[in-house]
């Protein structure tokens, strides 16, 4: 599904990713942990195609294509989805409009017709139920005046609707109350399948109790310094990150 080879990326001449290697196969769930400022969001943004990063070395292969050659929208249309750490508010663009435009962009790429209004609404309603969101949210501006937790749920709603092949969740669990964490986890678990991969960035072992990962990686100072299974996350919870760096 995804193969990141020796990826180096800088912003304004400052190197932030310093040789990332990571292979994610179809059906796998990977968790990435690591201290603040390690480069986790930078990695997500580079994978999603945000402008402003200079890729100085390395490559990323996604479904046999050179991911870094594609525009952000082309990646999204091919099934790459980034759930943002800080979702933006866009007043004036209604949530339902966004969902429809996004779904149609993906469908168009897949050679499918646009859904008609009724089918679309039926589909959206089923996804709203999955993430336990009220229909009222559809008619508000994208994230406009949403609480922190509601914004995160809204990201998962978009993901559930778009059914991406590769979902990158950047701290989707941060700021969620216990019930919301469970709901969001259920939403993610519902998406787990053999032909879909998930990369979750998190600071909390707790999330991994709900969404059990196949692999856990520690990203520190722009590199993956340690990889293991879910037990690694538990160790980190006890001991912090200092020992990982020493080891590396």
């Amino acid at each position: 599904m995804l193969e990141i080879k020796n990826l180096h990326a800088s912003v304004d001449g400052k190197e932030i990713l310093r040789g990332i290697n990571l292979t994610v196969n179809a059906g796998e769930v990977h968790a990435i942990m690591g201290p603040n400022g390690a480069g986790k969001s930078t990695l997500s943004n580079v994978l999603a195609g945000r402008d402003g990063y200079e890729i100085t070395q390395g490559e990323v292969i996604y479904k046999d294509e050179n991911l870094l050659d594609l525009e952000a929208e082309e990646r999204a249309q091919r099934g790459v989805f980034l759930a943002f750490q800080y979702p933006v508010e866009i007043p004036g663009v209604s949530n339902i409009y966004l969902l429809k435009a996004a779904l149609n962009a993906v469908r168009k790429h897949q050679g499918l017709d646009e859904l008609d209004a009724i089918d679309f609404l039926t589909l959206v309603r089923s996804k709203l139920e999955l993430v336990k969101m009220d229909e009222e949210f559809l008619h508000r501006g994208v994230n406009e005046g949403f609480s922190g937790g509601e914004k995160k749920r809204n990201e998962i709603l978009q993901m559930a609707l778009l059914e991406p092949s590769l979902a990158i969740l950047d701290e989707t669990d941060s700021g969620l109350d216990i019930d919301a964490l469970r709901t969001v986890s259920e939403g993610v678990n519902a998406l787990r399948s053999d032909d879909r991969s998930i990369v979750m960035i998190t600071h909390y072992q707790r999330l991994l109790d709900y969404i059990v990962p196949d692999f856990v990686h520690v990203l520190s100072d722009g590199q993956i310094v340690k990889s293991g299974d879910k037990e690694l996350a538990k160790e980190l919870e006890k001991t912090g990150y200092s020992w990982v760096n020493e080891d590396a």
């Binding site: 979702p87 866009i90 993906v106």
Partner: protein, 438 residues
């Protein structure tokens, strides 16, 4: 009338001075008004850049034109008119090349208590007489003097005391382009008696890209507790000059909600003025300008809070593309007796290209001490985070930009109470965006 090929701005008055308006030649009050305005116009001419209110808007290109005041016959079919109209199933006044069209207008079965007449009729003039000219000052504005001198047509609406008009009144002013360089001087008067309510749309349309001049003055009078929803949509041709004054006097508890949308014309200038004369009167003065190519759109607004307890809300938004130029000058004047005034004025601009230019100047003059006033202006570009978010959801860059521009612009429609009108106007705005829709 032969003009030298190169004219200077000071000559600008001359081509108009020789024109006489046919209307009301034998109506004494009108004759004397015309005489006064001739004196005024000869004194002032049209404004040059030295005039503080015309600092950023040059009439040079206007001065290089020779205008005619005789419209040749033109043909607009009922179907065409239906297509051009913003709304269906309403009252309709249609003015083609400066001449009222009884055929295309829909004024049958007017609700009791409502009159709608063209200015060019005896009834129209009679209904207009008590109020015509009282909302504007021909000693200050050259174009208003010119309009008074040459006005030949327009609409006159009166609503009787306590009457609520259910249907919207749409006035469609079409410039067919049949007569190149046609100048029209329209005068509209809306008189709202106490406790009355009505919704009026002024809709200006150009059908070709021929040069034309529309010089229009709309005056509105709102008696106690009257409510006037008033919208103006300007879609004149790309070589049109559109000069408009919109002025209202408001009695106590009256509400004037106006929205002024400028999409067309090569040069458009709006002067919008509310005088809040009665306590608890309220004005909503919103507007939108979308300019591209080398369009120049200038909005000057003014709100006078003259007595205590009056309120005003104003939001003007602009989207500028290519090499367009926009001017916003908003004056809010709180007079010394106007305690407890609550006034809010905002001007927000979105610049799409590098070549465009905006001169924005929100101004408040406050002579009372117990007031709540806020004003501000912003000039910005498309938010890159918003753009990336939409692209990361699969929208291509052009659509994403277009969507964000649309979202920025339609915000000015929020205070329009009628869902139907809001939707009709948002559809017009959507079509006008770079990509022709979102």
């Amino acid at each position: 009338m032969k003009m030298p090929s190169k004219k200077t701005l000071t000559d600008l008055a001359t081509p108009f001075a020789n024109v006489t308006a046919d209307l009301g030649q034998h109506v004494a009050w009108l004759k004397s008004l015309r005489l006064k305005s001739l004196v005024q116009f000869n004194k002032q001419g049209l404004p040059s850049n030295k005039h503080e209110d015309w600092k950023y808007t040059s009439l040079w290109s206007l001065s290089q034109q020779e205008f005619t005041h005789k419209a040749e016959e033109s043909d607009v079919s009922a179907e065409q008119c239906d297509q051009l109209a913003l709304l269906n199933d309403n009252y309709r006044v249609v003015i083609i090349d400066g001449i009222f069209s009884a055929q295309l207008s829909q004024l049958d079965n007017l609700q009791d208590g409502l009159t709608i007449n063209p200015l060019s009729t005896e009834e129209g003039l009679a209904k207009a007489q008590p109020d015509l000219g009282r909302q504007i000052d021909i000693t200050k504005a050259g174009f208003n003097a010119l309009n008074t001198l040459l006005m030949n047509e327009g609409f006159v609406i009166t609503v009787d005391s306590g009457v609520q008009i259910e249907k919207t009144i749409e006035v469609i002013v079409i410039n067919t382009g049949t007569t190149p360089n046609l100048a029209t001087h329209l005068r509209n008067v809306i008189v709202m008696a106490d406790n009355s309510q009505a919704t009026v749309i002024e809709h200006y349309i150009g059908l070709t890209d021929n040069v034309s001049l529309t010089n229009v003055v709309t005056e509105a009078v709102l008696a106690t507790n009257a409510e006037l929803n008033h919208y103006k949509l300007q879609q004149e041709s790309s070589n049109a000059f559109h000069i408009a004054t919109l002025a209202a006097k408001q009695g106590s508890k009256s509400q004037w909600k106006t929205n002024n949308i400028s999409l067309g014309a090569k040069l458009a200038r709006n002067d919008v003025h509310s005088q809040l004369l009665g306590q608890q009167s309220h004005v909503v003065m919103d507007g939108l300008y979308l300019a591209n190519n080398e369009q120049h759109i200038d909005n000057h607004t003014r709100i006078d809070h003259t007595v205590a307890n009056t309120t005003s809300e104003e939001l003007y938004k602009g989207v500028l593309d290519d090499k367009s130029h926009a001017v916003f000058n908003g004056k809010v004047i709180v007079h010394k007796d106007a305690q407890k005034t609550d006034a809010n004025q905002q001007n927000q601009n979105l610049l799409i290209s590098r070549g465009c230019e905006i001169d924005t100047k929100p101004e408040m003059e406050i002579y009372a001490d117990d007031v709540k006033c806020a004003h501000g202006s912003t000039v910005g570009q498309i938010n890159e985070d918003h753009l990336f978010f939409l692209r990361a959801r699969g929208l291509d860059e052009v659509s994403a930009r277009s969507l964000l521009t649309y979202a920025f612009a339609v915000d000015v429609l929020n205070r329009i109470p009628s869902e139907e009108i809001r939707q009709a106007l948002s559809a017009v705005i959507e079509q006008r965006l770079p990509q022709g829709g979102v």
